[in-house]
Structure formats: structure tokens, C-alpha cells
């Protein structure tokens, strides 16, 4: 074979490998989705959302307490992370060139890379140990810690995307920096930031490790913030590692709900970003 022929063959092999890699990555995704949907659909019904878990041995029942718990925990996390994240994001974008902003950015990226189980340990020592009590608040704190860096970086990136002329216009009209940020820049970036918050919520709603020894678990329906609280993820973990057939079915149903949450949020975010991009292209 000529040299050119060999080079062309090698090239085709590599191109084929790359296409193959994409297919190879799609296989597990398809497998996971297929099993979650086909196994989960059998147990997801109205009572799954409205009923409490039944005692071992009785079939039926649902995860109403866990679903409520996940909602409460995510809400607490957002309550803590949205203000902290957005304002530190504002700082990073407003003082982008400064050394301290670079340090804050580094801290945000570091926090984002901390393993979730370590976040759980930290939250345990800070928010559980002093009170000798697992609590929804401790769980929300742990999830909030994971949410802060995501929101901070999203806010920063979106603010930097706002055209510089808008800031200059506001400043030229005599606005203070705070005024320019809060009445002009943030509103312009708001749809994007909301999208980022939704994505961050979807991510932390799927977290298990930080909740294992902060929010712990609760067999009963609880809305009290100073008490242990159930969550979809920890409940799925308990059911999945338990010995009963019926538990396994419930675990698949819980997994299906989790995947649907992620899927719906990602699709909504995708649509929203598309619309934003189109708006920017037009404007």
C-alpha cells in the first residue's frame, strides 16, 4: 500500500473510532434510562405521591414524605445559596480584573470540586454536632454549600455577557454602581440566572451523600426543620440496598421521579437558553 493510502486508512480508522466513542457513551445512557423507565413505571402511580411508606411486608404505599422532604431541603438550600451566590457572582463580574476577584473565583471552583461526602462531613460537624440532632436545616445547609458555587459562576458569566454599553449608559446617566447593577445589569441577565438556579436545583435534588448524616432520614411525614427529614435520594438508597422485592420496586419508582426532575429541568433550561440566544441575536 502506498504511504498516502496508509495515511488515509489510518485517518478513516480514527474518524471511525471517534464516531464509535459517541455511540459507546450513548449505550449506558440508553440502558440507564430504559431500566429506570421500564422498572419505575410499574410502581409510579397516584398513591406513590400521596401515600406514606407501608411497613415491611405490606405492598403498596408511596414516598409522600420523601418527596415533601426533597422539596423542603431544596427550598432551604436555595434560600441560602441564591443570595450568597448571586451577590458573590456580582462581585466577581464587577471587579473582574482584580486579584481578589480571582481569589473568589478560585474559591468558588474549589468549593464546586469538593466531594459531596466531604461537604456532608463538614455540615455534620458544623450543623449537627453542636445540637446533637440530625435536622432538615443541616441537610439544607449541606445542599446550599453545593449550590453556592454553581450560582455564583453562572451569575458571573451571565453578567459578563451583558453588553458593556448598557452599563456605560447607566453610569453616564449618573447611576451609582449599585444602581447600575441592580436596575440594569441584573434584570438583563435575570432569565439566564433563573435558568442557572433551576439547573442547580435539579442537581442538588439528586444529591444523596451530603444528606446521609445531616438530614438523615425519617419514616414519618415531617415538615419540622429541627428534626430529621426524609428525601427521595436517601430513601431510594435505603430501599435499593434493602433485602425486599417491594422495596426495590419503590426504589426504581423513586429513581424515575428523580430522573424526570433532572430531565424536565434540563429541557426547560435548554429551551430558555435557546430563546435568550435568539433574543441576543436579534437585539
Amino acid at each position: 500500500m502506498t504511504t498516502t493510502g496508509r495515511r488515509k486508512l489510518l485517518s478513516s480508522i480514527v474518524v471511525g473510532f471517534c464516531a464509535g466513542a459517541v455511540v459507546l457513551a450513548l449505550v449506558p445512557l440508553a440502558f440507564v434510562l430504559f431500566f429506570v423507565v421500564s422498572q419505575g413505571i410499574r410502581s409510579v402511580n397516584v398513591s406513590f405521591f400521596t401515600h406514606m411508606p407501608t411497613p415491611v411486608g405490606e405492598t403498596g404505599g408511596g414516598m409522600a414524605n420523601s418527596i415533601a422532604g426533597t422539596l423542603i431541603l431544596s427550598g432551604l438550600a436555595a434560600l441560602m445559596a441564591v443570595p450568597v451566590g448571586v451577590i458573590s457572582g456580582v462581585y466577581m463580574s464587577e471587579y473582574a480584573g482584580t486579584r481578589f476577584a480571582a481569589l473568589v473565583r478560585f474559591a468558588a471552583d474549589t468549593l464546586n470540586g469538593v466531594p459531596s461526602i466531604v461537604i456532608g462531613l463538614f455540615a455534620y460537624v458544623v450543623a449537627v454536632l453542636p445540637f446533637r440532632q440530625f435536622s432538615a436545616l443541616a441537610g439544607g445547609f449541606a445542599l446550599g454549600l453545593m449550590m453556592i458555587p454553581i450560582i455564583a459562576r453562572t451569575t458571573e458569566e451571565l453578567l459578563l455577557l451583558v453588553p458593556g454599553t448598557m452599563r456605560e449608559g447607566a453610569l453616564a446617566l449618573g447611576a451609582t454602581r449599585a444602581r447600575a447593577v441592580f436596575s440594569v445589569l441584573l434584570p438583563a441577565a435575570l432569565p439566564g440566572i433563573v435558568t442557572g438556579v433551576v439547573l442547580a436545583l435539579a442537581r442538588i435534588a439528586g444529591e444523596t451523600a451530603p444528606l446521609l448524616f445531616t438530614a438523615f432520614n425519617n419514616r414519618f411525614f415531617s415538615t419540622r426543620l429541627n428534626q430529621p427529614i426524609s428525601s427521595l435520594t436517601v430513601q431510594v438508597y435505603t430501599y435499593a440496598t434493602g433485602p425486599y422485592e417491594d422495596w426495590h420496586r419503590q426504589a426504581w419508582a423513586g429513581a424515575l421521579v428523580l430522573v424526570l426532575i433532572v430531565l424536565v429541568c434540563s429541557l426547560l433550561a435548554r429551551l430558555a437558553t435557546r430563546r435568550l440566544e435568539r433574543m441576543h441575536a436579534r437585539g
Binding site: 489510518l10 485517518s11 480514527v14 474518524v15 471517534c18 466513542a21 459517541v22 457513551a25 450513548l26 449506558p28 445512557l29 440507564v32 431500566f35 429506570v36 451577590i87 458573590s88 462581585y91 466577581m92 464587577e94 471587579y95 481578589f100 476577584a101 473568589v104 474559591a107 471552583d109 474549589t110 468549593l111 470540586g113 469538593v114 466531594p115 461526602i117 466531604v118 456532608g120 462531613l121 463538614f122 460537624v125 454549600l145 453556592i148 458555587p149 455564583a152 451609582t176 454602581r177 449599585a178 435534588a205 439528586g206 444523596t208 451523600a209 446521609l212 438523615f216 431510594v236 438508597y237 435499593a240 440496598t241 426495590h248 426504589a251 429513581a255 428523580l258 430522573v259 433532572v262 434540563s266
Partner: protein, 316 residues
Amino acid sequence: MPKSRSRSDFLFRIGTGTFGVLLVVLVCAIGVVLARQSVLSVQKFGMNFWRTEIWDPVAGEFGALPFIWGTLYSSVLALLIATPIALGIAVFISELCPAVLRQPLVFITELLAAIPSIVYGLWGIFVLVPAVRAVETSLPDAMRQLPLFSGPPLGLGMLSAALILAIMVIPFISSISREVLKSVPAAQREGAYALGATRFEAIRAALFYARTGIVGAVMLGFGRALGETMAVTMVIGNNPKVSVSLFAPQYTMAAVIANEFAEAADDLYLSALVEIGLVLFIITLIINSLSRLLIWSMARSATAAQEPGVAAEGAA
């Protein structure tokens, strides 16, 4: 009123800056708090903690070597599987695929990253582990003699953990590699094609140009794999034994904390687990910082190359 305005700007800077400080403080606090909680274990065992293999909470003996080993082994195996596939995906999306396919493919790989760890774990227990067990039992006896495949084929073990970790880090490595490849100046590829390069040769040129950033991307994937908890805990078998066998049930640092922390009764036990968490925190901190440094220096040199004036200044 320039005076009040500058005062307002000053307050604004201090006000928003406080939240920035908060982020820095939080990261430091994690290190300090974990260090303080692990004093008991550090004082009692010193460096022996990381050299001994015996983990017996009942007898009060704590050696963390099996966890360090399991964490590193599973993560390295996962990277060996994930890196070629992730790079293939990155190259396909950024260099080869038709424009129509690009967005959907990006979305799908992102979805792979968005699926919760616990869902992977559930799937691992009931689908992956039985499949791995079937493969393991069908292995010819001659191969089973090798240390790499020794032990009973349980399914639960290192191989399942490495596979599930690989699936989970592929989207991370591929999305960052894709961005790194995007920052390679078009002139690199055009130059290669102009010299008569085949597609592969042009891709190779781009990959070579982006090598620093790609190493960074792989390291970031490594950091993710080290800290991954739930899915690994559910399929690795949770057995604190050092072994090179892919079939052997083993344990990781994250998994032992997840499994035993809520039940750890005495202070020394708790402290030993926190020390494992502290070391996990430090390792991931170093790996992540290094990888960001690499990606950042790559991005900087790429922009410098696109602005000839800056590059010339740098050279002079």
C-alpha cells in the same frame, strides 16, 4: 454629587466583597473544621494510619491503606476506560460532526452528567453487577489464574466500580476537552490541511496544540472520580482489603465515610473517618487546582497566539 456617589460605590464594593470573602472563608473552614475533628486519630496513629491495612472498629484498630488504595485504583481504572472515549467524543463533536448533530450531542452528553449518582448506583446494583458477574464467570480458567482476575466472581467489586465511574466521568472530560479544542486557533488546522494533512493528521495537530488543556481535563475527571460516593459505594462490595484483582470487592475513602459515619459510635472511630475525609478533601483540592492551572494556561497561550502583537511582545 460626586462625593456621595463614590461613597456609594465604596459601600457597594465592600458589600458585595463580603460575600466574596464568605466563599473564601467557607473553603478554608472546611479544611480547618475537618482538621480539628481528626486530631484524635492523627495523634493516636500518626502516619501509620495510612500504612496499615487493618480496619477493625470493634478492636479500635484503624488503618486506612485499603481505602486510599481502592480510591486510587478505581479512579485510575476509570480514567483508563474513560479518557479515550471522552476524547473521541470531544473530537467528534468539535471537529467531525455535521452542525445539525452538534447541539443534540452536547445535550445528550450533558444529560449523562446530570443523572444523579444514586440512580447510577441503583442501575449498577440491579443491571451492571449481574452483567459483570456473567462476564466474570464466563472467563476461561487460564485467565482466572492471573492475579488481575483472581478470586470468586461476585460481580460486586473493583471492575463494576471502575465501569460505573468511567460512565460518570466521560461527560466531564469530554465537555472540557471540547472547550479546550474550541480554543485552538483555526490556523493550526488550516495550516495542517494546507500541507496536505489527512483529517487524522489535522486532528492530531489540534490535539497536540491543546495537550496542556486536555491533560487538565483528564485530571479534572480524576478529581471527580476520587470523590464520587454513592454509585461506587453501591457496587464496589465494601471490603477493606488491598488487592489488584478486578474481581475483588474493595472499598473507597468516600464509601467508607458514607457507610459507617452515621453508625460510628466512639470518638476515635468518628475521628478516623473524618481524617479520611480530610485527606480526600486535600487530594481533590490539589488535583483540581492543578488541572485548572493547566486549562487556564492553555486558554491564555491560545488567546496570545491569536493576537500576534501580544505573542510577539511575550517573545521579546
